[in-house]
Protein backbone atom coordinates (compact mmCIF):
# COMPACT_ATOMS: atom_id res chain seq x y z
CA UNK A 1 0.00 0.00 0.00
CA UNK A 2 2.71 2.42 1.05
CA UNK A 3 4.45 1.55 -2.16
CA UNK A 4 1.52 2.61 -4.29
CA UNK A 5 1.06 5.87 -2.42
CA UNK A 6 4.77 6.50 -2.77
CA UNK A 7 4.60 6.06 -6.54
CA UNK A 8 1.44 8.17 -6.86
CA UNK A 9 3.01 10.96 -4.79
CA UNK A 10 6.22 10.94 -6.76
CA UNK A 11 4.47 10.95 -10.11
CA UNK A 12 2.05 13.72 -9.19
CA UNK A 13 4.89 15.97 -8.09
CA UNK A 14 6.76 15.18 -11.30
CA UNK A 15 3.76 15.94 -13.49
CA UNK A 16 3.13 19.23 -11.73
CA UNK A 17 6.77 20.31 -11.97
CA UNK A 18 6.85 19.28 -15.61
CA UNK A 19 3.69 21.25 -16.31
CA UNK A 20 5.69 24.45 -15.77
CA UNK A 21 7.58 23.62 -18.94
CA UNK A 22 4.35 22.68 -20.72
CA UNK A 23 2.68 25.96 -19.76
CA UNK A 24 5.63 28.00 -20.99
CA UNK A 25 5.69 26.05 -24.25
CA UNK A 26 1.94 26.53 -24.48
CA UNK A 27 2.26 30.29 -23.96
CA UNK A 28 4.77 30.50 -26.80
CA UNK A 29 2.61 28.36 -29.08
CA UNK A 30 -0.64 30.19 -28.38
CA UNK A 31 0.90 33.62 -28.87
CA UNK A 32 2.61 32.47 -32.04
CA UNK A 33 -0.55 30.90 -33.48
CA UNK A 34 -2.60 33.96 -32.71
CA UNK A 35 0.03 36.12 -34.40
CA UNK A 36 -0.12 34.16 -37.63
CA UNK A 37 -2.78 36.36 -39.29
CA UNK A 38 -0.77 39.45 -38.64
CA UNK A 39 2.50 37.78 -39.66
CA UNK A 40 0.96 36.69 -42.95
CA UNK A 41 -0.60 40.08 -43.59
CA UNK A 42 2.46 42.21 -42.81
CA UNK A 43 5.50 39.91 -42.67
CA UNK A 44 8.61 41.70 -41.55
CA UNK A 45 7.01 45.04 -42.29
CA UNK A 46 5.22 44.62 -39.00
CA UNK A 47 8.35 45.50 -37.07
CA UNK A 48 9.67 48.13 -39.46
CA UNK A 49 6.48 49.97 -40.35
CA UNK A 50 5.66 53.11 -38.39
CA UNK A 51 1.98 53.36 -39.17
CA UNK A 52 -0.47 51.88 -36.66
CA UNK A 53 -3.96 52.62 -37.93
CA UNK A 54 -6.64 50.24 -36.66
CA UNK A 55 -9.36 51.93 -38.71
CA UNK A 56 -7.39 51.19 -41.90
CA UNK A 57 -6.45 47.67 -40.76
CA UNK A 58 -2.84 48.75 -41.01
CA UNK A 59 -0.52 47.71 -38.20
CA UNK A 60 3.13 48.70 -37.96
CA UNK A 61 4.76 48.07 -34.61
CA UNK A 62 7.91 50.15 -34.90
CA UNK A 63 6.63 53.02 -32.71
CA UNK A 64 5.72 50.58 -29.94
CA UNK A 65 8.99 48.67 -30.22
CA UNK A 66 11.02 51.89 -30.34
CA UNK A 67 9.01 53.20 -27.42
CA UNK A 68 9.84 50.14 -25.34
CA UNK A 69 13.50 50.37 -26.25
CA UNK A 70 13.86 54.12 -25.71
CA UNK A 71 11.87 54.34 -22.47
CA UNK A 72 13.77 51.39 -21.05
CA UNK A 73 17.08 52.86 -22.20
CA UNK A 74 16.21 56.18 -20.55
CA UNK A 75 15.23 54.38 -17.37
CA UNK A 76 18.50 52.45 -17.32
CA UNK A 77 20.61 55.55 -17.95
CA UNK A 78 18.91 57.28 -15.03
CA UNK A 79 18.62 54.34 -12.66
CA UNK A 80 21.98 52.60 -13.04
CA UNK A 81 24.22 55.34 -11.61
CA UNK A 82 21.81 56.08 -8.79
CA UNK A 83 21.37 52.38 -8.01
CA UNK A 84 25.14 51.92 -7.87
CA UNK A 85 25.40 54.99 -5.65
CA UNK A 86 22.71 53.64 -3.33
CA UNK A 87 24.37 50.20 -3.30
CA UNK A 88 27.78 51.70 -2.48
CA UNK A 89 26.17 53.79 0.23
CA UNK A 90 24.39 50.79 1.71
CA UNK A 91 27.29 48.39 1.59
CA UNK A 92 30.26 50.66 2.33
CA UNK A 93 29.32 54.10 3.61
CA UNK A 94 26.18 54.01 5.73
CA UNK A 95 26.77 53.71 9.48
CA UNK A 96 26.04 50.18 10.75
CA UNK A 97 22.93 51.35 12.54
CA UNK A 98 21.39 52.71 9.33
CA UNK A 99 22.39 49.90 6.95
CA UNK A 100 19.69 47.51 7.92
CA UNK A 101 16.72 49.91 8.24
CA UNK A 102 17.52 51.69 4.96
CA UNK A 103 18.23 48.38 3.24
CA UNK A 104 14.95 46.88 4.40
CA UNK A 105 12.93 49.96 3.41
CA UNK A 106 14.43 49.81 -0.07
CA UNK A 107 13.53 46.13 -0.36
CA UNK A 108 10.00 46.90 0.82
CA UNK A 109 9.69 49.67 -1.75
CA UNK A 110 10.64 47.11 -4.40
CA UNK A 111 7.52 45.20 -3.32
CA UNK A 112 5.13 48.12 -3.89
CA UNK A 113 3.03 47.37 -6.97
CA UNK A 114 4.06 49.20 -10.10
CA UNK A 115 0.54 50.56 -10.59
CA UNK A 116 1.20 52.83 -7.58
CA UNK A 117 4.32 54.24 -9.20
CA UNK A 118 2.26 54.88 -12.31
CA UNK A 119 -0.41 56.70 -10.33
CA UNK A 120 2.16 58.82 -8.55
CA UNK A 121 3.72 59.61 -11.91
CA UNK A 122 0.42 60.72 -13.39
CA UNK A 123 -0.67 62.98 -10.55
CA UNK A 124 2.62 64.36 -9.25
CA UNK A 125 5.30 63.97 -11.84
CA UNK A 126 3.45 64.79 -15.06
CA UNK A 127 2.67 68.35 -13.84
CA UNK A 128 6.34 68.94 -13.09
CA UNK A 129 7.42 67.80 -16.54
CA UNK A 130 4.64 69.93 -18.02
CA UNK A 131 5.86 72.98 -16.14
CA UNK A 132 9.44 72.48 -17.21
CA UNK A 133 9.07 71.35 -20.81
CA UNK A 134 5.58 72.51 -21.71
CA UNK A 135 3.21 70.29 -23.66
CA UNK A 136 1.14 67.61 -22.04
CA UNK A 137 3.72 66.31 -19.62
CA UNK A 138 3.03 62.75 -20.65
CA UNK A 139 5.42 60.98 -22.97
CA UNK A 140 8.67 59.20 -23.39
CA UNK A 141 10.71 61.22 -20.89
CA UNK A 142 8.12 60.96 -18.14
CA UNK A 143 7.75 57.24 -18.75
CA UNK A 144 11.52 56.79 -18.62
CA UNK A 145 11.81 58.65 -15.33
CA UNK A 146 8.89 56.87 -13.66
CA UNK A 147 10.25 53.55 -14.88
CA UNK A 148 13.67 54.46 -13.49
CA UNK A 149 12.19 55.22 -10.08
CA UNK A 150 10.18 52.02 -10.16
CA UNK A 151 13.16 49.76 -10.89
CA UNK A 152 15.55 51.67 -8.63
CA UNK A 153 14.75 49.78 -5.39
CA UNK A 154 15.06 46.37 -7.05
CA UNK A 155 18.25 47.33 -8.82
CA UNK A 156 19.84 48.88 -5.75
CA UNK A 157 18.94 45.92 -3.56
CA UNK A 158 20.35 43.28 -5.91
CA UNK A 159 23.45 45.37 -6.65
CA UNK A 160 24.08 45.71 -2.94
CA UNK A 161 23.63 41.95 -2.53
CA UNK A 162 26.17 41.36 -5.29
CA UNK A 163 28.65 43.80 -3.68
CA UNK A 164 28.17 42.20 -0.29
CA UNK A 165 29.47 38.87 -1.62
CA UNK A 166 33.00 40.32 -1.67
CA UNK A 167 34.88 38.63 1.19
CA UNK A 168 35.86 41.01 4.01
CA UNK A 169 39.39 39.65 4.03
CA UNK A 170 39.86 40.74 0.40
CA UNK A 171 38.69 44.26 1.20
CA UNK A 172 40.88 44.35 4.30
CA UNK A 173 43.97 43.41 2.34
CA UNK A 174 43.38 46.33 -0.01
CA UNK A 175 42.93 48.67 2.97
CA UNK A 176 46.10 47.16 4.45
CA UNK A 177 47.99 48.39 1.39
CA UNK A 178 46.80 51.92 2.07
CA UNK A 179 43.73 51.96 -0.18
CA UNK A 180 40.91 54.45 0.38
CA UNK A 181 37.28 53.36 0.39
CA UNK A 182 36.92 54.33 -3.23
CA UNK A 183 40.10 52.45 -4.17
CA UNK A 184 38.70 49.35 -2.51
CA UNK A 185 35.32 49.78 -4.20
CA UNK A 186 36.65 50.32 -7.71
CA UNK A 187 39.61 47.92 -7.60
CA UNK A 188 38.28 45.11 -5.45
CA UNK A 189 34.53 45.11 -4.91
CA UNK A 190 33.39 46.07 -8.40
CA UNK A 191 35.79 43.69 -10.21
CA UNK A 192 34.98 40.91 -7.76
CA UNK A 193 31.21 41.36 -8.00
CA UNK A 194 31.22 42.40 -11.67
CA UNK A 195 29.25 39.43 -13.00
CA UNK A 196 26.68 39.77 -10.24
CA UNK A 197 26.31 43.52 -10.72
CA UNK A 198 25.97 43.34 -14.50
CA UNK A 199 23.58 40.40 -14.17
CA UNK A 200 21.42 42.34 -11.74
CA UNK A 201 21.34 45.34 -14.06
CA UNK A 202 20.30 43.20 -17.02
CA UNK A 203 17.67 41.47 -14.93
CA UNK A 204 16.30 44.89 -14.00
CA UNK A 205 16.36 45.78 -17.69
CA UNK A 206 14.38 42.63 -18.48
CA UNK A 207 11.78 43.62 -15.93
CA UNK A 208 11.64 47.23 -17.07
CA UNK A 209 11.02 46.40 -20.70
CA UNK A 210 7.94 44.33 -19.85
CA UNK A 211 6.66 46.76 -17.24
CA UNK A 212 3.15 47.89 -18.01
CA UNK A 213 1.45 49.77 -15.22
CA UNK A 214 4.23 52.18 -14.25
CA UNK A 215 4.29 53.56 -17.78
CA UNK A 216 0.72 53.15 -19.03
CA UNK A 217 -0.42 56.14 -17.00
CA UNK A 218 2.22 58.51 -18.27
CA UNK A 219 3.14 57.54 -21.81
CA UNK A 220 0.10 58.61 -23.79
CA UNK A 221 -0.32 55.60 -26.14
CA UNK A 222 0.44 57.58 -29.26
CA UNK A 223 1.82 55.45 -32.11
CA UNK A 224 4.23 58.00 -33.44
CA UNK A 225 7.97 58.16 -33.41
CA UNK A 226 8.88 61.64 -32.34
CA UNK A 227 12.24 63.31 -32.13
CA UNK A 228 11.05 65.24 -29.10
CA UNK A 229 11.67 63.14 -26.03
CA UNK A 230 8.85 64.88 -24.19
CA UNK A 231 6.24 64.00 -26.80
CA UNK A 232 3.58 61.37 -26.08
CA UNK A 233 4.58 57.92 -27.25
CA UNK A 234 3.76 54.29 -26.69
CA UNK A 235 5.47 51.00 -25.92
CA UNK A 236 4.53 47.36 -26.41
CA UNK A 237 2.99 46.86 -22.95
CA UNK A 238 1.24 50.24 -23.10
CA UNK A 239 -0.32 49.36 -26.44
CA UNK A 240 -1.46 45.99 -25.11
CA UNK A 241 -2.94 47.50 -21.95
CA UNK A 242 -4.83 50.17 -23.82
CA UNK A 243 -6.01 48.36 -26.90
CA UNK A 244 -6.66 44.75 -26.02
CA UNK A 245 -10.16 45.48 -24.81
CA UNK A 246 -10.83 47.77 -27.77
CA UNK A 247 -9.72 45.53 -30.61
CA UNK A 248 -12.61 44.73 -32.89
CA UNK A 249 -11.22 42.80 -35.83
CA UNK A 250 -9.32 39.54 -36.23
CA UNK A 251 -6.31 41.32 -37.68
CA UNK A 252 -6.27 43.89 -34.88
CA UNK A 253 -6.23 41.12 -32.29
CA UNK A 254 -3.62 39.19 -34.19
CA UNK A 255 -1.38 42.25 -34.36
CA UNK A 256 -1.70 42.71 -30.61
CA UNK A 257 -0.83 39.05 -30.08
CA UNK A 258 2.20 39.48 -32.28
CA UNK A 259 3.25 42.45 -30.15
CA UNK A 260 2.82 40.30 -27.08
CA UNK A 261 4.84 37.52 -28.71
CA UNK A 262 7.64 39.95 -29.58
CA UNK A 263 7.67 41.27 -26.01
CA UNK A 264 7.86 37.73 -24.65
CA UNK A 265 10.78 36.91 -26.94
CA UNK A 266 12.66 40.09 -26.01
CA UNK A 267 12.25 39.72 -22.29
CA UNK A 268 12.86 35.98 -22.31
CA UNK A 269 16.15 36.61 -24.11
CA UNK A 270 17.25 39.43 -21.81
CA UNK A 271 16.35 37.56 -18.63
CA UNK A 272 18.06 34.41 -19.90
CA UNK A 273 21.24 36.35 -20.61
CA UNK A 274 21.16 37.82 -17.11
CA UNK A 275 20.43 34.53 -15.41
CA UNK A 276 22.58 32.13 -17.37
CA UNK A 277 25.48 34.21 -18.49
CA UNK A 278 26.05 36.49 -15.52
CA UNK A 279 24.25 35.02 -12.54
CA UNK A 280 24.98 31.34 -13.08
CA UNK A 281 27.77 31.18 -10.52
CA UNK A 282 25.99 33.07 -7.81
CA UNK A 283 22.68 31.29 -8.29
CA UNK A 284 22.85 27.84 -6.81
CA UNK A 285 25.64 28.54 -4.41
Amino acid sequence: MSNIIDKVFEHSTRIIAFSVLLIVAWIFTVLFQNSLDSMQAFGFDFITDTKWAPNLEKFGALPAIMGSVISTFLAMVLAVPVAIGVAIFLSEIAPEKLKSPIGVSIELLAAIPSVIYGMWGLFYFVPIIRDIFGGLGIGMLTAGIVLAIMILPFMAAVTRDAMDTTPDILKESAYALGGTKWDVIKDIIIPYAKAGIIGSMILALGRAIGETMAVTFVMGNVHKISLAITAPATSIPVTLANEFTEADTELYFSSLFELSFILLLISFTIISIAKFYFLRKTRRA
Binding site: T13, I16, I84, G210, L263
Partner: protein, 280 residues
Protein backbone atom coordinates in the same frame (compact mmCIF):
# COMPACT_ATOMS: atom_id res chain seq x y z
CA UNK B 1 49.18 67.64 -5.00
CA UNK B 2 50.74 64.30 -4.21
CA UNK B 3 49.31 61.04 -5.48
CA UNK B 4 47.95 60.22 -2.06
CA UNK B 5 46.27 63.59 -1.63
CA UNK B 6 44.74 63.15 -5.05
CA UNK B 7 43.38 59.75 -4.09
CA UNK B 8 41.98 61.09 -0.85
CA UNK B 9 40.26 63.87 -2.75
CA UNK B 10 38.77 61.48 -5.33
CA UNK B 11 37.67 59.30 -2.49
CA UNK B 12 35.92 62.19 -0.80
CA UNK B 13 34.21 63.25 -4.01
CA UNK B 14 32.94 59.75 -4.76
CA UNK B 15 31.75 59.26 -1.20
CA UNK B 16 29.81 62.51 -1.38
CA UNK B 17 28.37 61.66 -4.79
CA UNK B 18 27.20 58.23 -3.79
CA UNK B 19 25.77 59.44 -0.50
CA UNK B 20 24.00 62.14 -2.48
CA UNK B 21 22.59 59.65 -4.98
CA UNK B 22 21.45 57.48 -2.12
CA UNK B 23 19.64 60.46 -0.65
CA UNK B 24 18.11 61.40 -4.01
CA UNK B 25 16.90 57.84 -4.49
CA UNK B 26 15.56 57.58 -0.99
CA UNK B 27 13.95 61.03 -1.21
CA UNK B 28 12.01 60.03 -4.31
CA UNK B 29 10.85 56.85 -2.69
CA UNK B 30 9.84 58.68 0.49
CA UNK B 31 7.99 61.19 -1.62
CA UNK B 32 5.95 58.43 -3.26
CA UNK B 33 5.32 56.74 0.04
CA UNK B 34 4.20 59.93 1.77
CA UNK B 35 1.86 60.82 -1.08
CA UNK B 36 0.42 57.36 -0.91
CA UNK B 37 -0.17 57.70 2.81
CA UNK B 38 -1.47 61.27 2.76
CA UNK B 39 -3.87 60.73 -0.15
CA UNK B 40 -4.81 57.28 0.98
CA UNK B 41 -5.57 58.09 4.59
CA UNK B 42 -7.57 61.20 3.73
CA UNK B 43 -9.64 59.25 1.20
CA UNK B 44 -10.47 56.39 3.52
CA UNK B 45 -13.77 56.48 5.35
CA UNK B 46 -16.47 54.00 6.16
CA UNK B 47 -18.23 54.52 2.83
CA UNK B 48 -15.24 52.98 1.08
CA UNK B 49 -15.96 49.68 2.77
CA UNK B 50 -19.74 49.97 2.79
CA UNK B 51 -20.61 50.85 -0.79
CA UNK B 52 -20.06 49.47 -4.22
CA UNK B 53 -18.92 51.53 -7.15
CA UNK B 54 -21.15 54.41 -8.18
CA UNK B 55 -21.16 57.02 -10.94
CA UNK B 56 -18.97 60.07 -10.37
CA UNK B 57 -20.51 62.68 -8.11
CA UNK B 58 -22.48 60.07 -6.25
CA UNK B 59 -22.22 60.23 -2.45
CA UNK B 60 -22.54 56.55 -1.70
CA UNK B 61 -19.53 55.35 -3.63
CA UNK B 62 -17.02 52.86 -2.35
CA UNK B 63 -14.70 49.94 -2.97
CA UNK B 64 -16.70 47.09 -1.46
CA UNK B 65 -17.02 45.42 -4.86
CA UNK B 66 -13.31 45.71 -5.59
CA UNK B 67 -12.21 44.60 -2.14
CA UNK B 68 -14.40 41.51 -2.25
CA UNK B 69 -13.49 40.81 -5.88
CA UNK B 70 -9.80 41.15 -5.07
CA UNK B 71 -10.20 38.85 -2.09
CA UNK B 72 -11.99 36.21 -4.15
CA UNK B 73 -9.50 36.34 -7.02
CA UNK B 74 -6.40 36.30 -4.81
CA UNK B 75 -7.63 33.60 -2.46
CA UNK B 76 -8.77 31.34 -5.30
CA UNK B 77 -5.44 31.80 -7.09
CA UNK B 78 -3.66 31.06 -3.80
CA UNK B 79 -5.79 27.99 -3.16
CA UNK B 80 -4.82 26.59 -6.55
CA UNK B 81 -1.30 27.93 -6.92
CA UNK B 82 0.10 27.13 -3.48
CA UNK B 83 -0.48 23.34 -3.43
CA UNK B 84 0.65 23.02 -7.05
CA UNK B 85 3.75 25.12 -6.38
CA UNK B 86 4.63 23.19 -3.24
CA UNK B 87 4.23 19.82 -4.95
CA UNK B 88 6.25 20.95 -7.96
CA UNK B 89 8.97 22.29 -5.66
CA UNK B 90 8.90 18.97 -3.81
CA UNK B 91 9.69 17.19 -7.05
CA UNK B 92 12.69 19.45 -7.72
CA UNK B 93 14.18 19.13 -4.27
CA UNK B 94 13.29 15.55 -3.32
CA UNK B 95 13.09 13.57 -6.57
CA UNK B 96 14.60 15.51 -9.46
CA UNK B 97 17.44 16.97 -7.36
CA UNK B 98 20.29 17.94 -9.68
CA UNK B 99 18.98 16.02 -12.70
CA UNK B 100 18.87 17.73 -16.06
CA UNK B 101 15.07 17.92 -16.09
CA UNK B 102 14.95 19.45 -12.61
CA UNK B 103 17.53 22.06 -13.54
CA UNK B 104 15.68 23.00 -16.71
CA UNK B 105 12.47 23.42 -14.71
CA UNK B 106 14.38 25.61 -12.22
CA UNK B 107 15.80 27.77 -15.01
CA UNK B 108 12.48 28.21 -16.79
CA UNK B 109 10.71 29.02 -13.50
CA UNK B 110 13.36 31.61 -12.70
CA UNK B 111 12.78 33.26 -16.06
CA UNK B 112 9.00 33.16 -15.63
CA UNK B 113 9.34 34.97 -12.31
CA UNK B 114 10.63 38.02 -14.18
CA UNK B 115 8.64 37.64 -17.40
CA UNK B 116 6.18 40.43 -18.29
CA UNK B 117 2.86 39.73 -16.64
CA UNK B 118 0.88 41.43 -19.40
CA UNK B 119 2.00 38.64 -21.73
CA UNK B 120 0.40 36.11 -19.38
CA UNK B 121 -2.75 38.22 -19.58
CA UNK B 122 -2.82 38.04 -23.36
CA UNK B 123 -2.20 34.28 -23.22
CA UNK B 124 -5.16 33.80 -20.88
CA UNK B 125 -7.24 36.00 -23.13
CA UNK B 126 -6.56 33.56 -25.95
CA UNK B 127 -7.10 30.33 -24.05
CA UNK B 128 -9.82 31.29 -21.56
CA UNK B 129 -11.59 34.50 -22.48
CA UNK B 130 -12.08 33.75 -26.19
CA UNK B 131 -13.44 30.19 -25.67
CA UNK B 132 -15.71 31.40 -22.84
CA UNK B 133 -16.87 34.27 -24.95
CA UNK B 134 -16.49 36.86 -22.20
CA UNK B 135 -14.24 38.19 -19.46
CA UNK B 136 -14.46 36.32 -16.18
CA UNK B 137 -13.11 36.11 -12.66
CA UNK B 138 -11.76 32.66 -13.52
CA UNK B 139 -9.62 34.07 -16.31
CA UNK B 140 -8.03 36.46 -13.82
CA UNK B 141 -7.58 33.68 -11.29
CA UNK B 142 -5.81 31.45 -13.81
CA UNK B 143 -3.54 34.29 -14.95
CA UNK B 144 -2.47 34.98 -11.37
CA UNK B 145 -2.07 31.27 -10.66
CA UNK B 146 0.34 30.95 -13.58
CA UNK B 147 2.34 33.87 -12.21
CA UNK B 148 2.30 32.45 -8.70
CA UNK B 149 3.30 28.83 -9.35
CA UNK B 150 6.95 29.47 -10.33
CA UNK B 151 7.44 31.68 -7.25
CA UNK B 152 6.09 29.09 -4.80
CA UNK B 153 7.82 26.28 -6.66
CA UNK B 154 11.26 27.85 -6.46
CA UNK B 155 11.02 28.98 -2.83
CA UNK B 156 9.73 25.54 -1.80
CA UNK B 157 12.60 23.93 -3.71
CA UNK B 158 15.15 26.19 -1.99
CA UNK B 159 13.61 25.78 1.46
CA UNK B 160 13.38 21.97 1.24
CA UNK B 161 17.01 21.79 0.17
CA UNK B 162 17.95 23.57 3.39
CA UNK B 163 16.60 20.67 5.45
CA UNK B 164 19.65 18.63 6.45
CA UNK B 165 19.84 15.28 4.63
CA UNK B 166 20.73 13.54 7.90
CA UNK B 167 17.13 14.19 9.02
CA UNK B 168 15.79 12.39 5.96
CA UNK B 169 18.27 9.57 6.39
CA UNK B 170 17.30 9.12 10.02
CA UNK B 171 13.66 8.76 9.01
CA UNK B 172 14.47 6.35 6.17
CA UNK B 173 16.54 4.32 8.60
CA UNK B 174 13.39 3.79 10.64
CA UNK B 175 11.75 2.27 7.58
CA UNK B 176 9.48 5.18 6.60
CA UNK B 177 8.34 5.35 2.96
CA UNK B 178 9.56 8.37 1.03
CA UNK B 179 6.25 10.25 0.88
CA UNK B 180 5.95 9.99 4.66
CA UNK B 181 9.49 11.21 5.13
CA UNK B 182 8.69 14.20 2.93
CA UNK B 183 5.38 15.04 4.55
CA UNK B 184 6.29 14.32 8.16
CA UNK B 185 9.94 15.32 8.27
CA UNK B 186 10.95 17.49 5.34
CA UNK B 187 7.86 19.71 5.17
CA UNK B 188 7.90 20.12 8.91
CA UNK B 189 11.55 21.13 8.86
CA UNK B 190 10.95 23.70 6.13
CA UNK B 191 7.60 24.95 7.45
CA UNK B 192 8.60 28.52 8.17
CA UNK B 193 10.48 28.90 4.92
CA UNK B 194 7.58 27.60 2.84
CA UNK B 195 5.14 29.85 4.68
CA UNK B 196 7.36 32.85 3.97
CA UNK B 197 7.46 31.87 0.31
CA UNK B 198 3.66 31.67 0.22
CA UNK B 199 3.28 35.10 1.83
CA UNK B 200 5.71 36.69 -0.59
CA UNK B 201 4.03 34.90 -3.49
CA UNK B 202 0.63 36.28 -2.47
CA UNK B 203 2.12 39.74 -2.01
CA UNK B 204 3.59 39.54 -5.47
CA UNK B 205 0.38 38.60 -7.31
CA UNK B 206 -1.84 40.86 -5.20
CA UNK B 207 -0.25 43.90 -6.84
CA UNK B 208 -0.62 42.62 -10.39
CA UNK B 209 -2.77 44.78 -12.61
CA UNK B 210 -1.68 44.10 -16.16
CA UNK B 211 -2.72 40.43 -16.32
CA UNK B 212 -6.19 41.30 -15.01
CA UNK B 213 -6.96 44.11 -17.44
CA UNK B 214 -8.32 41.78 -20.09
CA UNK B 215 -9.04 38.65 -18.10
CA UNK B 216 -11.16 39.38 -15.04
CA UNK B 217 -11.71 42.84 -16.54
CA UNK B 218 -13.77 44.97 -14.19
CA UNK B 219 -17.21 45.45 -12.77
CA UNK B 220 -18.39 48.53 -10.95
CA UNK B 221 -20.77 46.47 -8.84
CA UNK B 222 -20.39 43.60 -6.45
CA UNK B 223 -20.16 40.21 -8.08
CA UNK B 224 -19.12 36.99 -6.41
CA UNK B 225 -19.56 34.81 -9.48
CA UNK B 226 -16.18 33.81 -10.91
CA UNK B 227 -17.87 33.09 -14.23
CA UNK B 228 -18.59 36.79 -14.65
CA UNK B 229 -16.25 39.76 -14.97
CA UNK B 230 -15.04 40.72 -11.53
CA UNK B 231 -13.68 43.90 -9.99
CA UNK B 232 -10.23 43.99 -8.43
CA UNK B 233 -8.52 46.73 -6.44
CA UNK B 234 -5.78 47.11 -9.00
CA UNK B 235 -7.93 47.45 -12.10
CA UNK B 236 -10.39 49.69 -10.23
CA UNK B 237 -7.49 51.82 -9.12
CA UNK B 238 -6.31 52.13 -12.72
CA UNK B 239 -9.76 52.99 -14.06
CA UNK B 240 -10.56 55.47 -11.30
CA UNK B 241 -7.16 57.14 -11.34
CA UNK B 242 -7.24 57.69 -15.09
CA UNK B 243 -10.77 59.08 -14.95
CA UNK B 244 -11.24 62.85 -14.96
CA UNK B 245 -13.43 62.84 -11.83
CA UNK B 246 -11.83 63.95 -8.61
CA UNK B 247 -14.01 61.82 -6.34
CA UNK B 248 -13.13 58.73 -8.35
CA UNK B 249 -9.46 59.63 -8.21
CA UNK B 250 -9.70 59.89 -4.44
CA UNK B 251 -11.27 56.46 -4.23
CA UNK B 252 -8.40 55.29 -6.43
CA UNK B 253 -5.93 56.57 -3.83
CA UNK B 254 -7.84 54.78 -1.11
CA UNK B 255 -7.54 51.56 -3.12
CA UNK B 256 -3.83 52.19 -3.65
CA UNK B 257 -3.31 52.72 0.06
CA UNK B 258 -5.25 49.64 1.14
CA UNK B 259 -3.49 47.44 -1.39
CA UNK B 260 -0.02 48.77 -0.50
CA UNK B 261 -0.57 48.28 3.20
CA UNK B 262 -1.74 44.73 2.54
CA UNK B 263 1.32 43.96 0.44
CA UNK B 264 3.76 45.68 2.80
CA UNK B 265 2.14 43.86 5.71
CA UNK B 266 2.66 40.48 4.03
CA UNK B 267 6.28 41.37 3.27
CA UNK B 268 6.93 42.48 6.83
CA UNK B 269 5.36 39.33 8.29
CA UNK B 270 7.44 37.26 5.87
CA UNK B 271 10.60 39.03 7.03
CA UNK B 272 9.75 38.61 10.69
CA UNK B 273 9.20 34.89 10.08
CA UNK B 274 12.62 34.59 8.51
CA UNK B 275 14.13 36.46 11.43
CA UNK B 276 12.53 34.23 14.06
CA UNK B 277 13.81 31.22 12.18
CA UNK B 278 17.32 32.61 12.11
CA UNK B 279 17.02 33.50 15.75
CA UNK B 280 16.41 29.89 16.73
Amino acid sequence: MTAIEKRMLTNKIVMILSTLSAFIGIAFLLWILSILIINGVSAINWEIFAFEGAPPGHEESGLKHALIGQLIIISTATAIGVPLGILGGTYLSEYGQQSKLANIIRDISDIMMSAPSIVIGSFIYAVVVIPMGHFSGWAGVIALTIIMIPIILRTTDDMLQLVPSTLREAAFALGAPKYKVIINIVYRGAKVGILTGILLGIARVAGETAPLLFTSFNDNFLSTDLNEPMASLTVTMYNYATSPYEDWQNIGWAAAFILSMFILGLNIIGRLLIMTRKGK
